[in-house]
């Protein structure tokens, strides 16, 4: 009996170690989710601020509107949500955050588009629809290509949407831009392109003046760097 008692005590101790590990892990996961929520709240405030500025456009000049920071923050948020989807166990919380993030992306896209139209400023964006339920090998490749495009053209706005996300906004976007399988699907300047696209193919679809402007900016930046040296 004493023998079995020892096996039981060790079992309880081992379960205790697992319980403590789970608790510590949950604590850090909670911290991570709180961090994502903080960033989202900040972006929501920024977008609301931009929307308010837009509403005041009648009284303000276009130069007073500044929303360039938001896109960078959206990128940070995207990385964190992708990581959380793959690594955190609190998937219900992550899904909710992902939906909120998707909404923020749509709001950011619409706002920038409206500002662009109103202020006659250039705005080039790609809407990227990827699949999580389908076995979409090309989506992974497309992701790498879009990362490379973002690095090459910092002015290019890329908004990634999960085709399978159960959200009315996604359904509306799919309907507006006639997005359907097979995935991936890219919407470049309101034109829908189905299937994997290389960086060269994407560049061919981007407005010529955007490419020229980006090249000029890159050259100017390189020259400025050279001068500093």
């Amino acid at each position: 009996m004493r023998q079995w008692g020892k096996y039981l005590i060790v079992l309880l101790l081992t379960c205790g170690i697992f319980a403590i590990s789970w608790y510590v892990s949950s604590y850090f996961s909670g911290k991570k989710i709180a961090e994502i929520r903080d960033i989202q709240n900040k972006i929501a405030v920024d977008i609301l601020s931009s929307e308010t500025q837009y509403s005041l456009l009648e009284e303000l000049s276009c130069s007073d509107i500044n929303s360039s920071i938001i896109s960078d923050e959206l990128l940070t948020l995207a990385d964190r949500i992708t990581y959380s989807e793959q690594n955190l166990s609190e998937q219900d919380d992550v899904l909710l955050l992902k939906k909120q993030y998707t909404m923020l992306q749509v709001k950011d896209f619409l706002l920038k588009k409206r500002i662009s139209e109103r202020c006659k400023t250039p705005f080039t964006a790609i809407l990227y629809f990827y699949g999580t339920k389908q076995n979409c090998a090309d989506c992974e490749r497309q992701g790498y290509v879009l990362d490379a495009a973002r690095a090459k053209y910092p002015e290019l706005r890329i908004y990634s949407y999960d085709y399978n996300l159960d959200l009315s906004t996604i359904r509306a976007l799919r309907s507006i831009y006639k997005v359907d399988e097979p995935l991936p699907v890219l919407v470049i300047n309101s034109k829908t392109q189905s299937g994997f696209k290389t960086l060269e193919e994407i560049e061919a679809l981007l407005p010529k003046d955007f490419i020229k402007r980006s090249q000029a900016q890159a050259q100017a930046a390189a020259e400025a760097k050279e001068e500093k040296k």
């Binding site: 023998q3 020892k6 096996y7 005590i9 060790v10 079992l11 101790l13 081992t14 170690i17 697992f18 403590i20 590990s21 789970w22 510590v24 892990s25 850090f28 996961s29 991570k32 961090e35 964190r80 990581y83 690594n87 955190l88 166990s89 090998a137 992974e140 490749r141 497309q142 790498y144 290509v145 990362d147 490379a148 290389t198 960086l199």
Partner: protein
């Protein structure tokens, strides 16, 4: 949770369970262990002892082994050394013949028949109260025999005592990592002894009461792991095996990966086959922790190591495939390194695995203290080297078991 995650959690749970089991055993018996560690030895009487030294192609080490036996702190008229040359093809017999006519030494030469036949031949030449065995590549500390005999006198129901086996003068990396392994093994062996669950009486200097062989018979071939089989047979016969961690024996470790691989394949194969031969003992509570803990833990460890190896291989292939996809999409690009705490893995498995590693490191440190050896940073090399090469001898031993192919001695 995926099936792979469930299997991984189960393996880690069992591994933590085993280490906690040993830790609880240590805490239960800490006073007894500390007392044994501190005290010297004193014998009321000096019983007669015979040490059998089977040799097969050991010309380089046999002389040192015999000299270490002659230097034992034990009355000369109570200690006899039986050297049996098992048909060596090198200069071993010539080396042994130096001791012809020595008052304490008897030398014999026989046809090669395997280690167990040489030891049994030696046993037949003895009439002493205790019989020991010493591999011809090992060396004993002068007080080792007296310390072992003192255990028999303190615990009269003890039928065999295993010593502390320590690596002799490690020079290269392979030997240094084995030293760490042996030190950890010393802690595990001590805990097994406290549980009465030892499953091997090592070839280097395990000492038996004569009655063990009278009741159970001699050594058997036992898949070239005769020192393991005799321990299984003793456990089956409810014969108590003790461990004397203060009796130190030094053994020469394999100095190349190839030699180590062959040795370990033989050991693991022997464990699998002996466990199969004695499967009727497993989970039978009348055989104590040996049946409930030692054999199941050994079998689970082998399965777990093989699973983790394939899981790691699968992840590696997945990573390479992802890099190929990336390369095909955008060419070679520098990997993104993020120092942001957000991307540090804080999953439950990470914390549990950290605790498991802490328990393993503690086992290594405690083993070093038992062996009265210094702490070695080769703990890290040990973990790296063994996690890479150990799965290969495990797989080979399993493969040999499936094909019923017995590995050679060397």
């Amino acid at each position: 949770m995926s099936v792979a995650a469930i299997i991984t959690y189960t393996i880690v749970f069992l591994a933590v369970y085993v280490q906690v089991f040993f830790l609880v055993t240590l805490l239960e018996r800490r006073k007894e262990l500390a007392a044994a560690h501190r005290k010297g030895y004193s014998l009321s009487t000096y019983p007669s002892v015979a040490i059998i030294m089977p040799c097969w192609n050991e010309e380089k080490t046999v002389h040192g082994t015999v000299e270490s036996l002659l230097a034992l702190d034990y009355p000369k008229d109570k200690l006899e050394i039986i050297i049996v040359d098992d048909g060596s093809t090198d200069g071993t017999w010539k080396e042994i013949q130096q001791y012809q006519g020595h008052s304490q030494i008897k030398i014999f030469h026989k046809e090669n028949g395997g280690k167990h036949t040489a030891v049994n031949f030696g046993i037949a030449q003895t009439s002493t109260d205790f019989i020991g065995c010493l591999d011809a590549d090992s060396f004993v500390a002068p007080d080792a025999l007296a310390r072992i005999i003192s255990v028999f006198q303190e615990k009269p129901d003890t039928m065999a005592v295993a010593p502390a086996v320590i690596i002799h003068r490690p020079t290269n990396l392979m030997q240094k990592v084995q030293k760490v392994e042996y030190n950890m093994g010393l802690y595990l062996k001590k805990m097994q002894a406290l549980l009465g669950a030892i499953h091997v009486t090592p070839g280097p200097f395990s000492i038996f009461r004569r009655t063990v062989f009278e009741k159970l018979g001699g050594f058997r071939k036992a898949h070239n792991t005769e020192d393991m089989e005799i321990a299984y047979r003793m456990q089956e016969a409810h014969m108590k095996i003790e461990h004397c961690h203060t009796a130190q024996v030094y053994t020469v470790a394999p100095d190349t990966v190839k030699k180590l691989y062959k040795q370990r394949t033989r050991w693991i194969y022997g464990f699998i086959q002996n466990s199969l031969d004695y499967k009727h003992l497993i989970f039978r509570k009348e055989y104590g922790h040996f049946a409930l803990f030692t054999i199941p833990a050994g079998i689970i460890s082998i399965c777990a190591a093989v699973y983790l190896f394939f899981a790691a291989l699968y992840n590696l292939v997945g990573w390479i495939a992802e890099k190929i996809v990336q390369w095909r999409a955008v060419g070679i690009s520098a990997p993104r390194v993020s120092l942001d705490w957000f991307y540090i893995n804080t999953g439950t498995i990470v914390f549990v695995t950290t605790i498991l590693y802490a328990l393993l490191i503690m086992a290594m440190v405690l083993g070093s203290r038992l062996a009265k050896q210094k702490f070695s940073w080769h703990i890290v090399s040990y973990m790296v080297v063994y996690s890479i090469i150990a799965p290969f001898w495990l797989l080979k031993a399993i493969w040999n078991s499936l094909r019923a192919k017995q590995p050679n001695w060397r």
